[in-house]
């Protein structure tokens, strides 16, 4: 257990969510756009339409600057913010999936070198060679998705891994295929939305109409297939997680998904019928709508993982909840209940390791930081603010709150309280002190 980072009102978890959300726009573009590019470039050469290359140049510059400047940095940013939000969680992932990430890194290099060379050699190398670079870049970049989906899906549904401890059992888990195919088809929808936006900057009307029409077909197909696969994905979710969609996910997010896909299908149909009718601002708005849809889905995916950070292994508050016998790892509840969390966690001030009459509230706060701060802030307002929770339940007496803490693990989304009876009392005293 490491030191804790508190972000006033927000929590480190929300910093991570913001970073991840921000990352979606450039990263999904980077995987998808090049497919569209290679398709158009092939057409340009086959049908001898050099004017299409203007689009290629513009679209790949967007890719280079937007995806690879902001995309790769925010990607590293997700990793950094996951680290400071939940160091033991990321450590658990890395100690299982380090070679997966290292494999991903190889493709990441291919991708980044690929885009630079693709952009800078357009028109400077022969056509066939340029297309080859495009293909390498396209396949390599989709492969990064093949890998990262395995690790993402693992966090939500760890498959047979808790029994076998095997890398591939966790990787190819029950939601892997549905998620990979869903993301792959949706990615074409994303590429299409960006392509239409870039096309609005093209002067040649024929080119513009051609790009917009083609893109809109990609968009419709991608969205419709993606929605069907989304339903399949929901079916593959473990029951406990699917249940949390009903319990935890706000209606707003669910509506967000449905509305944004509906609006986008209409938008693509319109673009197909009147390709020249679309200007830059609406095209950017369409991207924003798309973003809203993705954001809603990703937020829900994060929410329904509770109370775990790594499914069936580690709780969000970094306490190991279940044995993984194959790896020689034991759950920590027992030892913490015996020794006490204050002795178990290394980063506790010496004066708080023993509980006495004078330090109850302080100790309670320390315990709350360790066990609750991954999901609650302690300011008056903010993410599931603890004072509000406490007021909502009208906590007045420490004894009653101790009973509540005993039953904490009964909530489908909260890990159980762990620690000694004296520690539970101190935490209860602290919680009561918030109700004023």
């Amino acid at each position: 257990m490491y030191p804790i980072w508190e972000v006033p009102n927000l929590s480190a978890g929300i910093v991570l969510a913001l970073m991840a959300t921000f990352h979606i726009l450039p990263s999904h573009l980077s995987v998808s756009a090049i497919w569209f590019n290679v398709y158009v470039e092939t057409k340009a050469y086959r049908e001898n339409r050099p004017e299409l290359l203007e689009f290629i140049k513009k679209y790949s510059l967007l890719l280079l600057v937007f995806s690879y400047v902001l995309g790769s940095l925010s990607g590293i940013g997700i990793w950094y913010s996951a680290t400071v939000a939940n160091p033991r969680g990321i450590s658990g992932l890395i100690h299982n999936y380090v070679w997966g990430w290292a494999t991903e890194w190889v493709f990441f290099i291919i991708e980044v070198i690929g885009i630079f060379i693709y952009y800078y050699t357009l028109g400077k190398v022969d056509k066939k060679t340029h297309l080859k670079i495009g293909w390498i870049f396209a396949i390599g970049s989709w492969t990064t998705m093949v890998i990262i989906v395995g690790i993402l899906a693992f966090m939500l549904s760890s498959g047979k891994w808790p029994e076998t401890g095997n890398f591939f059992d966790g990787f190819f888990n029950q939601t892997y295929w549905s998620q990979l195919l869903m993301r792959t088809t949706l990615m074409f929808g994303i590429a299409a939305a960006y392509a239409i936006a870039v096309a609005t900057r093209i002067k040649n009307a024929d080119v513009r109409a051609f790009i917009t029409k083609t893109a809109s077909r990609w968009g419709i197909a991608g969205l419709i297939l993606g929605s069907i696969l989304f339903l399949w994905y929901l079916k593959t979710l473990p029951d406990a997680n699917r249940m949390l969609i009903t319990v935890l996910a706000p209606q707003g997010l669910k509506t967000g998904i449905i509305v944004s896909s509906g609006v986008l299908v209409l938008y693509f149909i319109y673009a197909n019928v009147k390709p020249l009718g679309i200007r830059l601002v609406p095209a950017i708005l369409a991207i924003a709508v798309l973003f809203g849809g993705i954001w809603s889905t990703e937020r829900i995916r994060e929410m329904i993982r509770k109370p775990y950070i790594i499914s069936q292994y580690m709780y969000s508050n970094q306490i190991i909840g279940k044995d993984v016998i194959a790896k020689g790892v034991s759950a920590e509840a027992k030892i913490i209940n015996e020794k006490g969390i204050l002795k178990f966690a290394p980063f506790v001030p010496d004066g708080l390791r023993e509980i006495n009459e004078g330090n109850q509230v302080q100790v309670g706060k320390m315990i709350a930081l360790i066990e609750c701060s991954s999901c609650h802030v302690f300011d008056e307002k903010g993410l599931r603010a603890m004072p509000q929770m406490v007021k909502r339940l009208g906590f007045k007496e420490a004894e009653a709150v101790e009973g509540f803490l005993d039953g904490l693990g009964g909530y489908p989304y909260m890990p159980p309280f762990v620690g000694t009876a004296a520690e539970r009392k101190a935490l209860a005293t602290y919680l009561v002190s918030l109700n004023k």
Binding site: V84, P87, H95, I110, T129
Partner: protein, 404 residues
């Protein structure tokens, strides 16, 4: 809690999926590559501003090339930073995470600082023309300053990590704890400079390479290239000499108990450094001829020094009986094989991409691939497809076995 016990408790209970020496070697190798491109980034970024402000035909032209080079260098530096970032967390997780948590706000700040620096670098490269005046240099100056700040953060994180005996003091004030993560707690000037000064030496070598690479291009002026080469060789030599002095300063500021000056890794690193200095002295006569061996020699030196840095880390952490060689093992052959195979395949493909770039840049007009290059390209694509087929096949077999 006793520090050695604490470190053991912090280690990930999952253990590591392969022998620690392999992770260590990969970490050092990729760190050496990372820091080399960090050096290219800082140096080209600085020199592109210097050249812009200095003006004159040669400097203006060079400044433009270097501004463009910075955009690529920073990308590569990041790319190569990801690997040691991964491997350090595998074998040094207690240290890495504790250090990051203690300065968490800076860890996040780092990302935004980099984004800003990177964007400004693009502005400085793409938006300049003959009308932009001296004030325009501010974009480049701020970008450079932010790169430097990124380096300071990296250094603080890397140095805090070596001092577990101070962590609790940094975190707690009496019975209160500081969860803001807004402080950087440790900084050691000679160590920091030892990573930064080489930027100018390496950029000198970068200029020598530039002169070498473009020497056969008809559209490049001979006098200009000669000037670039000579300037580069001079820079490389002077700053390598300064670097040697800083190195000894760092050495003497280390805790005496380490006796680091007798450490074999240090001795090899230092010997390589001195050899490089002699080599660069000779390079003054004909920078172009010395360019390629120069960059190889410089990389070798950096690699040796990176191993010395790792040996130093082992000294620091050995004080608490921490050794990565005692890490719990949970060997996983499958995923290790996946990585190694992908890595070898990746080298072949990356080799193809870089060859196209290299060859096309050397001709003024359109580059037409030779049949053997075409073949290499086809093989690269085939390799990628085979990879997908193999991995998907494996996935299908596993899914059928587990779920059907």
């Amino acid at each position: 809690m006793e520090i050695g016990t604490m470190l053991k408790a912090l280690q990930d209970p999952m253990g590591i999926p392969f022998y620690p020496v392999v992770f260590q070697a990969l970490m050092v190798l990729t760190f050496a590559l990372h820091i080399m491109f960090v050096n290219f980034t800082l140096g080209t970024s600085f020199l592109s501003v210097y050249g812009y402000l200095k003006g004159g035909e040669n400097w203006t032209r060079l400044s433009r090339s270097l501004a463009r080079a910075t955009t690529v260098n920073i990308s590569v530096a990041m790319l190569l930073g990801v690997a040691p970032l991964l491997f350090v967390q595998v074998v040094y997780d207690p240290f890495w995470y504790a250090s990051n948590m203690l300065s968490a706000a800076w860890v996040i700040g780092f990302i935004f600082i980099m984004m800003l620096a990177y964007s400004l670098t693009y502005v400085f490269y793409l938006k300049r023309d003959h009308k932009t005046g001296g004030g325009f240099a501010i974009f480049g100056i701020i970008a450079f300053a932010l790169f430097l700040l990124s380096g300071i953060i990296m250094h603080a994180l890397g140095y805090q990590l070596l001092q577990p005996e101070k962590w609790l003091n940094w975190y707690t004030k009496g019975n209160f704890i500081d969860t803001s993560g807004t402080s950087l707690h440790a900084f050691q000037l000679p160590r920091f400079l030892h990573f930064i000064i080489p930027s100018f030496a390496m950029t000198g070598i970068f200029l020598m390479l530039y002169a070498w690479y473009f020497k056969n291009r008809a559209d490049f002026d001979k006098g200009y290239l000669e000037w670039v080469g000579k300037t580069g060789a001079k820079m490389a030599f002077i700053f390598t000499a300064i670097q040697a002095v800083v190195g000894f300063w760092w050495l003497f500021s280390l805790p005496a108990g380490f006796s680091f000056f007798t450490n074999p890794f240090f001795l090899i690193g230092a010997a390589l450094g001195i050899a490089l200095l002699v080599f660069l002295y000779n390079a003054q006569k004909d920078p172009v001829k010395y360019a390629v061996p120069g960059v190889l020699g410089a990389f070798l030196t950096i690699f040796g020094m990176s191993y010395a840095r790792e040996a130093l880390r082992m000294k620091y952490l050995g004080r608490f009986d921490y050794s990565i060689f005692n890490y719990k093992l949970n060997i996983d052959w499958g995923s290790t094989a996946l990585f190694l195979a992908t890595f070898v395949m990746g080298l072949a493909i990356i080799g193809y991409l870089l060859s196209v770039a290299y060859k096309s840049g050397r001709v003024a007009g359109e580059y037409v691939s030779t049949p053997s290059m075409n073949k290499w390209g086809k093989i690269s694509i085939a390799l990628l497809l085979i990879w997908i087929v193999v991995v998907a096949g494996l996935g299908i077999v596993i899914s059928v076995r587990n779920y059907l």
